[in-house]
Structure formats: structure tokens, C-alpha cells
């Protein structure tokens, strides 16, 4: 870290300062220079944080060694003895498969929860503003009751009530062939599921999506030119649907993609470690150089005059240093590169296997509920779409709980739309429903969306309480996995990665909608 230019700000390098006029000023001692102090403090804090982490990690390392606990990820490929209550695989053969099935359960719960909580939340919010006194009071009672009782308590109340009140799945329950079956083991109904030909069909739909993009652009242009409503979105959706339908017939045509993926997997297998190392280093250096060059050009005036404070120079130096550290890590940590290569190879290997099916395979199939009798106790089999009591209680709890918060957001958003808007709409003769749909809601949505996005994030995180009612979500299965294998740290790392990616995805989606809303406003 250079400190050559800390004497005074008048000597910014790269400037054409008329130095003749500036009398030599006394050199500022380092410990009194604000810029130096600022950066020394920051680097000091960084050092403290890093050394504290190092201290804790080494401490944990010693303790783990002393207790013979490993921290590697090999449990993902080792057999485990776990049974999931429900999901894509109830008897997974490896730890990785178990966690994957649990993740799918969490995702199902989250997606279903978000959809139903939104619908219920909007109803609650509108009811809070109803003309009807009784409806208004019920809605506010709903909100005040649900959000002042801990979610976990609600969840457990639903769970105990359902297990106690629903009919038991008796010992004599034989094969069933109905549409819906409810018992204290869960709720089961027929399901449509993905079959072997699905991935080939998905390629057709993907092509359809690309085509739909162009169709939408085309229709949009027509609408912009003629002014008539050309409904571009509908056309785009129609295109996708058309491709989907055609795909049901023509999908075996894409069998050759399997060979392509196989070739890529072989190529990745043969690549030396140096390739990802070089790639990572190039990315690190590339990011740093673009950041620095953008930074410099931002600080350059139209006349090409560069004005950088000492602080800016420190920032540039720090960025360069960080990129060098990253390059060092990429080069020295060979495990990272081979992991990238291996997982890339595995990914394409899996894709190859997915396309390696008989040409007549259907993309979709349907099945109806059944009952299996493992050991003594009857249970629902894999054929139906089954929701266990645990799943149901978590689902109802998060939907009801979140609906109270979303309802308040909806109410606040609608109240934020000024009264004048409603009166103006009434004045031009719009009906109550029309006002709500065309005037109030579009404007209120801009206010409602950001806090509701936060509620979606909370909902996804709240599904983790499923561990309390024994529903096999990622936290429950992860706990079982580390109890069996002792790999606490890796499992916690997987949890964090999973939830952070969920949060990131929701943020990106909601922000995308938000930006679109702001555009509509203009």
C-alpha cells in the first residue's frame, strides 16, 4: 500500500497542477493523515476479523480432530440409512440423494405456500377494507390473531389437531382406487408426473420459448405501429403451448443430444487442471481491471482531466490486491479446479443418461393413490400425490401466517393510492370492480410488491420449522444426515448455500417485476 502522496491533496498524480505556485508544505506525519488513518483502521479491522475467523477455525479444527470428526463431503456419495416421509425418493441410497429429495420437498412447500399465501393475503387485505363491518372485523381479527402467535406454535397446534381429529388409516385398509383419500397419515390424490421422454420434450419447449420471444417482439411492433391491441403476451404463450403440443409427438427426434452431452463430458474429463485455473484467474483479473478502468473513467472529466483523491488510490490498490489474492487462491487450490472439472463432467454425464431412452417414451404419465403395507402399518404408496400431515400443517401454518402479513401490505398499498384517484375514476363512470382492477391495483402494486417480496423470503425460511413436525424438509433430513455421519459443518454449508440461492432467486424475480412496475409508471 503506497503512501507516497499523502502530503497534501494538491499533488494528485495524473493532474497537471501548476506546482510552481504551490509552496512546499510540511509533510503530514502518517499517524495524523486522515486518509492513512482511515485505511489503516479498515485494514486493521479486516485483519482482526480474518484472524478471529482463523482462530475459531483452528480451534474447531483441533477439537474436531480430537473427536475424530471429519469435515469432508464424501457422505454425499456414501450410503445412509434415512427414510423420508414423502417426496421424490423416500428411501434414498446416498446422503446426497437424501438431501436432494429433501430440497425438493422444501421447494414444493415454498412454491405452493407462496401461491396460496398470495391469494389468501390479497383476500384478507381487501376484506380489511370492505364496506361490510362484519367482514372487516373478521379480517382484522384474523390478522391480529395470527401474527401475534408464534408460527411454530400454530404449526404444532395444526399438527396435533389433525393427527387427533382425522380418521386413522386402519390396518385393514386395502388398495384404494379413488380420487382423494384423507387420513391421519396424510392426504393423497392422483398425480401427473414426469416420465422418461420429458427431457427430449423439454428441448422442444425450449425452442418454442425462443420462437415465442420473436413472436412477442413481432406482435409488439404491430401493436406499437397500428395502436390496436395485438396482445403480444397471449401470442407468445400460445406459441409455447403450440410447441408443447407438437412436442408430445416429435420429441424423440432429439435423441442425438445425448451423444453431444456425452462428448462434452468426455472433453471435460480429458481437460487438464490448468484450464479452470487459468479461467478463474482471468475472471478475477478481468473483473479487477474492468472495475479499475470504469472507476478511472468515472473520475475523468470531459476534457480528460483525472482527479483522484488519495482515498481513490487506496481503493484501486486494494482492488488490485484482492484480485491478486484471488489468482493466488485459484492457482494454489488445485482441489477447486478439479472439483469444477469433475462436477461439470458429472453434470453432462447425467444429461447424457437422461436422453438415453427408448424412442417411444412418453413425456408425462398419471397415477392414482395406492396403499402399501410395509411391515405392519399401512401407508400411502408412491403413486399418488401425497401430502403428509406434517407437510399439511407446515403448509397451512405458513400460508395463514404469511397471509396476515401480506394482507396488511395489500391494505397499506391500497390506502396509499390517493382518494383522488378513486374519485376521478368514479367521475368517469367506472364501476367498483373496474376501479379496483384498472385504477387502484396497478398503482397499489408498486407499494405492495417490495414488502411482499420480503414476506416471500420469510415464508421460504419459515418452512425450515418443518423439522418440529417431522416433515422431511432439508433441515430435518440434514440433521439426520449429520447425526449419522458426524459431518455437521458440510451439512450446514449446504443449508446456507441452498437458502441463500433461494433468497437470491426470489429477490431477482421480485426486483424484475418491481423494475417493470416502475417502468409502467413512467
Amino acid at each position: 500500500m503506497t503512501t507516497s502522496d499523502n502530503t497534501s491533496s494538491s499533488e494528485s498524480p495524473g493532474s497537471s497542477a501548476p506546482s510552481t505556485l504551490v509552496a512546499a508544505s510540511a509533510r503530514t506525519p502518517l499517524w495524523r493523515d486522515v486518509v492513512v488513518l482511515k485505511w489503516v483502521t479498515q485494514v486493521f479491522l479486516l485483519a482482526v476479523v480474518l484472524s478471529a475467523m482463523w482462530f475459531l477455525a483452528s480451534q474447531a479444527g483441533d477439537n474436531l480432530r480430537a473427536r475424530n470428526i471429519n469435515t469432508d463431503f464424501d457422505f454425499l456419495e456414501r450410503p445412509v440409512d434415512i427414510q423420508l416421509g414423502e417426496g421424490i425418493d423416500t428411501h434414498p441410497d446416498t446422503g446426497g440423494r437424501a438431501l436432494w429429495a429433501a430440497m425438493v420437498n422444501t421447494l414444493r412447500l415454498s412454491v405452493a405456500g407462496i401461491i396460496f399465501a398470495t391469494v389468501l393475503g390479497v383476500i384478507v387485505g381487501l376484506a380489511r377494507l370492505s364496506d361490510n363491518w362484519l367482514v372487516r372485523r373478521i379480517a382484522s381479527g384474523w390478522v391480529e390473531m395470527l401474527r401475534n402467535i408464534p408460527l411454530l406454535v400454530q404449526m404444532i397446534v395444526y399438527y396435533s389437531t389433525m393427527t387427533a381429529a382425522l380418521p386413522r388409516l386402519g390396518l385393514d385398509a386395502g388398495p384404494i382406487n379413488g380420487w382423494l383419500h384423507v387420513s391421519n397419515k396424510g392426504i393423497s390424490m392422483p398425480r401427473v408426473h414426469i416420465a422418461d421422454g420429458f427431457y427430449q420434450w423439454a428441448v422442444v419447449v425450449l425452442i418454442g420459448a425462443v420462437a415465442a420471444h420473436f413472436v412477442r417482439r413481432h406482435r409488439q411492433r404491430i401493436q406499437d405501429e397500428t395502436g390496436a391491441n395485438a396482445s403480444p403476451i397471449l401470442w407468445a404463450l400460445g406459441t409455447v403451448a403450440l410447441f408443447g403440443l407438437v412436442g408430445l409427438v416429435v420429441h424423440p427426434a432429439f435423441f442425438w443430444l445425448g451423444a453431444v452431452f456425452g462428448a462434452i463430458a468426455d472433453l471435460l474429463d480429458s481437460l487438464p487442471n490448468a484450464v479452470p485455473q487459468l479461467l478463474l484467474s482471468a475472471i478475477a483479473v478481468g473483473f479487477a481491471t474492468t472495475w479499475i478502468s470504469r472507476f478511472v473513467s468515472d473520475h475523468r472529466s470531459a476534457r480528460g482531466h483525472l482527479s483522484l483523491t488519495d482515498d481513490d488510490w487506496f481503493r484501486i490498490a486494494f482492488t488490485a490486491l484482492v484480485s491478486l489474492v484471488l489468482v493466488y487462491v485459484a492457482v494454489r487450490w488445485t482441489g477447486l479446479s478439479s472439483w469444477i472439472l469433475n462436477s461439470g463432467r458429472d453434470l453432462f454425464g447425467v444429461l447424457e443418461a437422461k436422453f438415453d431412452v427408448d424412442g417411444a417414451a412418453r413425456p408425462f404419465d398419471a397415477m392414482r393413490p395406492d396403499i402399501v403395507q410395509k411391515a405392519k402399518f399401512p401407508n400411502y404408496g408412491k403413486n399418488g400425490l401425497t401430502m403428509s400431515i406434517g407437510f399439511a400443517s407446515v403448509f397451512f401454518a405458513v400460508v395463514f401466517y404469511t397471509s396476515a402479513f401480506i394482507g396488511e401490505n395489500v391494505r397499506g398499498g391500497i390506502l396509499a393510492v390517493s382518494k383522488g384517484q378513486t374519485e376521478a375514476a368514479k367521475a368517469v363512470g367506472l364501476g367498483r370492480g373496474q376501479i379496483l382492477r384498472h385504477v387502484v391495483l396497478p398503482q397499489a402494486l408498486r407499494v405492495i410488491l417490495p414488502p411482499t417480496g420480503n414476506q416471500y423470503l420469510n415464508l421460504v425460511k419459515n418452512t425450515s420449522l418443518a423439522v418440529a413436525v417431522g416433515m422431511s424438509d432439508i433441515v430435518q433430513v440434514g440433521t439426520t444426515v449429520f447425526n449419522q455421519t458426524g459431518r455437521t459443518l458440510p451439512v450446514v454449508a449446504i443449508w446456507m448455500l441452498f437458502y441463500l440461492s433461494c433468497s437470491l432467486t426470489i429477490s431477482v424475480v421480485v426486483n424484475w417485476f418491481n423494475v417493470r412496475m416502475q417502468l409502467v409508471e413512467r
Binding site: 491533496s9 503530514t28 493523515d33 482527479s307
Partner: protein
């Protein structure tokens, strides 16, 4: 306070400023905001006890300049020397200059969570390290000097704009500065309150305080200033004694400005 007798000639004319010390020296001060050059080689010297009024259209860089002198903004080229202390990255110099230069803002910027007495005495207690009792009696004396001792226990939100600005002046004076900077002190005030604030500033000028005032009040400038500086586009366009500035401006841009404003 001492020679507060209303005098026909301006303060500068009865005082001989030529032999005074240089209080503020600016040499080729330049500053950019990204592409935009806010100050372009501004050079000026302000003597002890001198009162300088800075004029100019909005966006001409006069506020930026005055804020650079207190290092609320950091200049990028040139030198600023305040009372023989150069403004650099040196922590000690910055502290010294800030405690010697008082500043009054357009928006008053009183601390809304403190009462008037605490607003004035806070900095003397914690920056000047004065005992509380002494700081508070000094604060009361200053409030008396700006004419609102009875408001000492109220909060800024309960005061009118003019009263707030007078408190802001008292707050700056509590640090016993040798230089006062005024950044459009009357621009945010209702017309009927401008006079009470200008009167306070006038008395202060007559007491011999070195002052730089950015203002649009021409009458005030004529009456109080020793010297006027006209800025435009980040540059000093014209600099002259008050009498000559108004009676015989040399630059065309100054003439245009004066014709628009008078």
C-alpha cells in the same frame, strides 16, 4: 459589540485593513464533481477583520468555495491556508481550522433532538472541553447577544426560521471562532424574518469579526461589506471594493448580473 455605533461609512472604510494579517489565503483552488468543474483556479486573500461578500448566480461555485474553506468539501488542487494553517489531510490541521472557523448554513441545521441551550453549548463542552457550567453561562450570554435568551429551554422545531438562524449563529460563535462563514444565511427565511438575522450579522461585522458571506441581499452587501467578489462558472470574475463594485463594475458579466438583480 464594542463599536456598534451605526456609522455612515462602511466598516471597512473606517478600519485600515491593509496592514492586517492574511486570515484566508486561497491559491488556484480547483474542484471537480466527476465531469463538472465546480471551482476553477479560485485565488483570493481575506485579511483580518475584513468582511467579504461573495455574489453570483446559483451554480456559480460560491457555496462550494466557502464549504471548501471549512473542509466540508475537499478541494482537489491548489492550496487553502486558514490563519497560517494549511488544509491538508493532516487531522490536527483539520481540527484546528474547523474549531477556528464558524459556519452558518442556509437550512440552519440545528440539532432537532436538543434544546436551544444544548445546541449552543454541546460543542464547547465536548470539542473545547469546557466545564458544563461555564459552557452554559457562555451559551446564555450568546443567546442574549442574538436576542433570544427566553427561548433557551425550547426545541428548534418550536422556533421561527429567523430565531433558528440566530441560534445557529450563536452556536457557531460559541466555539469562539476567528472567522465566520455564512452560506446564504437568509435564503430559506420569510421576508419579515430576514432583517432580524441580518441585524445580528451586521453587529457581528462591526465587532471586527473576519467574515465571508454568500448572499443575495444587495442592501446588506452595500452596507456591510468591505469587498465584493463576483463568481460565475466556478471562476472569480470580478473582485473590488464595495463602492467601486456597484458604481463602476469593469466586467460585462458583472454589469449584466447587477442589472438583473438591482
Amino acid at each position: 459589540m464594542t463599536d456598534a455605533t451605526p456609522a455612515e461609512p462602511t466598516a471597512g472604510q473606517i478600519r485600515d485593513l491593509s496592514r492586517g494579517r492574511d486570515m484566508i489565503v486561497c491559491e488556484d483552488v480547483s474542484k471537480w464533481y466527476g465531469d463538472f468543474q465546480a471551482l476553477d483556479k479560485v485565488s483570493a486573500t481575506i485579511k483580518e477583520q475584513e468582511v467579504v461578500v461573495v455574489l453570483g448566480p446559483s451554480g456559480s461555485g460560491k457555496s462550494t468555495w466557502i464549504r471548501c474553506i471549512n473542509r466540508l468539501e475537499i478541494h482537489q488542487e491548489g492550496r487553502i491556508v486558514v490563519d497560517d494553517v494549511e488544509l491538508t489531510n493532516d487531522l490536527r490541521n483539520i481540527e484546528k481550522v474547523r474549531s477556528e472557523v464558524g459556519m452558518v448554513f442556509q437550512q440552519f441545521n440545528l440539532f432537532p433532538h436538543l434544546n436551544i441551550l444544548d445546541n449552543v453549548s454541546l460543542a464547547p463542552i465536548w470539542v473545547r472541553k469546557k466545564p458544563r457550567a461555564e459552557a452554559e453561562s457562555q451559551a446564555m450570554a450568546l443567546l442574549e447577544r442574538v436576542g433570544i435568551p427566553e427561548q433557551a429551554q425550547k426545541y428548534p422545531g418550536q422556533l421561527s426560521g429567523g430565531q433558528q438562524q440566530r441560534v445557529a449563529i450563536a452556536r457557531a460563535l460559541a466555539m469562539e471562532p476567528r472567522i465566520m462563514l455564512f452560506d446564504e444565511p437568509t435564503s430559506a427565511l420569510d421576508p419579515e424574518m430576514i432583517k432580524e438575522v441580518l441585524d445580528v450579522i451586521k453587529t457581528l461585522a462591526l465587532s471586527g469579526m473576519t467574515m465571508m458571506v454568500v448572499t443575495h441581499e444587495m442592501g446588506f452587501a452595500k452596507e456591510v461589506a468591505d469587498r465584493l467578489i463576483f463568481m460565475e462558472g466556478g471562476q472569480i470574475v470580478e473582485e473590488n471594493t464595495t463602492e467601486l463594485f456597484f458604481s463602476n463594475p469593469t466586467e460585462d458579466r458583472t454589469k449584466l448580473f447587477l442589472s438583473q438583480i438591482l
